[in-house]
């Protein structure tokens, strides 16, 4: 039997809750995610994250199995494409090894030493997602704090840490961020912004270059700029999809990010800036932040980085 008569207090309660909700949204906008709102967020994550870890441990095999079932139709094509990519990557690796050998020889001849700067990396498992945000199993006790940049295991930009609790953190991908990302395309600096209602099949972002001097071409790589306050310079973000020429002094085009955040299982959180005081004058960039992680559990590692010029 149903209780079909709504209480007389339903409407006042509803209106009160709506007002509270709107006030909370306004506070969140005004505080930009910090202050009381940030404490509330990390406090909730603190309570729920242990349960999420347990739940993730149970449901991950189920999720993987269902994902595999949904992808089984395109498996053959994916295998062929991956084989081709592997062959190309192996060829590129050989040429890079040649370059590294030459570099080592030149460093030896001129008695050069590596910079020695180190950038901590925390490899984390993605244990869940809410909307476009990812939840990872590493938090403050692993050195993960809000604002740090996040890349995938291939070194491509994923996003930033939105909030962190002791044992977990929330990652906001660049494709879902409201804030523009300062990037380099060739020698030009532009702003990359997310595109609303972007779909998985056509995951795209908008690039605006306001001081355009030359056209950009499809396939041009987009890298993080040293002007960015959120990322070290030189990290690959995506590639230009359409050719575009400057109109007056500005230029707009479409960019496809290298990373589809939804499909990530592991991410790497960079301890950047290593020293906030010197970061303003330091363009340190990881030379090689790659290293595919295999296995169930991610670990915390530290890698050596070398400086690179802007872009």
């Amino acid at each position: 039997m149903l209780n079909t008569k709504p209480s007389d207090r339903a409407l006042p309660t509803f209106i009160t809750l709506l007002v509270i909700g709107v006030l909370l949204m306004t506070f969140d906008v005004r505080l930009a995610g910090g202050g009381v709102v940030g404490v509330l967020r990390s406090g909730t994550q603190e309570i729920v994250s242990p349960l999420q870890r347990v739940a993730a441990f149970v449901v991950t095999p189920v999720a993987n199995a269902l994902d595999s079932l949904s992808n089984v139709a395109s498996l053959r094509e994916q295998n062929a494409a991956l084989s081709a990519e592997l062959a190309e990557a192996e060829a590129a690796l050989v040429s890079v090894q040649d370059d590294l050998a030459k570099l080592a020889l030149l460093e030896q001849i001129y008695d050069l030493e590596a910079d020695g700067g180190e950038l901590g990396q925390t490899v984390a498992n993605v244990i869940g997602a809410v909307d476009a945000a990812l939840i990872i199993d590493k938090g403050i006790r692993d050195g993960v704090v809000a604002g740090q940049p996040v890349i995938d295991t291939n070194g491509y930009v994923v996003g930033t840490v939105k909030s962190a609790s002791t044992g977990s953190a929330t990652i906001l991908p660049i494709t879902a961020s409201r804030e523009g990302l300062t990037v380099l395309v060739g020698s030009q600096t532009g702003t990359l912004v997310s595109r609303p209602f972007s779909s998985e099949l056509a995951l795209e972002m908008d690039l605006d270059v306001f001081d355009a001097r030359e056209p950009v071409l499809a396939g041009d790589r987009i890298l993080t700029s040293s002007a960015s306050t959120d990322y070290p310079a030189g990290l690959p973000v995506g590639e230009v999809v359409q050719d575009a020429s400057p109109e007056s002094t500005s230029l707009s085009t479409t960019v496809r990010p290298f990373v589809d955040a939804e499909s990530l299982r592991f991410v790497v959180v960079l301890s950047w800036p290593p020293d906030p005081v010197t970061a303003a004058t330091d363009d340190t960039v990881p030379e090689d932040t790659t290293g595919t992680t295999f296995g169930e559990d991610a670990t915390t590692t530290t890698s050596t980085t070398t400086p690179e010029g802007d872009g």
Partner: protein, 167 residues
């Protein structure tokens, strides 16, 4: 709302949040909004309407706090959907199929509201990713889940084996 009912509802919401943020957060094909569905189905129970609204609000708030969207966004949406569910639940009494369709339509309303509020507050890139497919897949998934789970859920919360039994 008595202690045992409160415990059952709290446990249900917690399980819904955990399953939503872990299993359904990772699947790209099956994407119900389990937490919203709990708020909708609670309207069918004998739980007091104010309590249903408060539970919907709190469960939305928890989802907001666990994600990266504005705090209060889902809370407002879930509360609105729960309120409309309370006001329209008479139409869902006809049978299992009507309950499923009713829950699906309310979910569609919730998804549209979420996208609308998300757009107004500049959150559309976050909550509106794959907006069009979300507007189709989430209500469909919730319709199927409501058809499967609604009678069991109501009987469990109300501890009444005769609830929602249709010839």
């Amino acid at each position: 709302m008595r202690g045992r009912t409160a415990l059952i509802i709290g446990l249900t919401v917690l399980i819904a949040v955990l399953v939503q943020t872990t299993l359904f957060g990772r699947l790209q094909v099956v994407t119900p909004d389990l937490v919203m569905l709990v708020g909708i189905l609670l309207a069918l129970t004998r739980v007091r309407t104010e309590a249903v609204l408060a539970i919907a609000f709190l469960s939305g708030l928890i989802m907001d706090l666990l994600g990266a969207s504005l705090i209060g966004l889902r809370a407002v949406v879930y509360t609105t959907v729960a309120y409309i569910a309370i006001r329209t639940k008479e139409r869902a009494e006809l049978g299992r199929v009507t309950i499923a369709i009713w829950a699906g339509l309310l979910t569609l309303l919730g998804v549209v509201l979420l996208l609308l509020l998300g757009t107004l507050f500049g959150q559309v890139a976050l909550v509106g990713e794959e907006g069009v497919s979300v507007m189709v897949l989430v209500p469909l998934a919730n319709t199927a889940l409501a058809a499967l789970l609604a009678p069991t859920f109501v009987r469990w919360v109300d501890r009444d084996r005769t609830a929602l039994r249709y010839p």
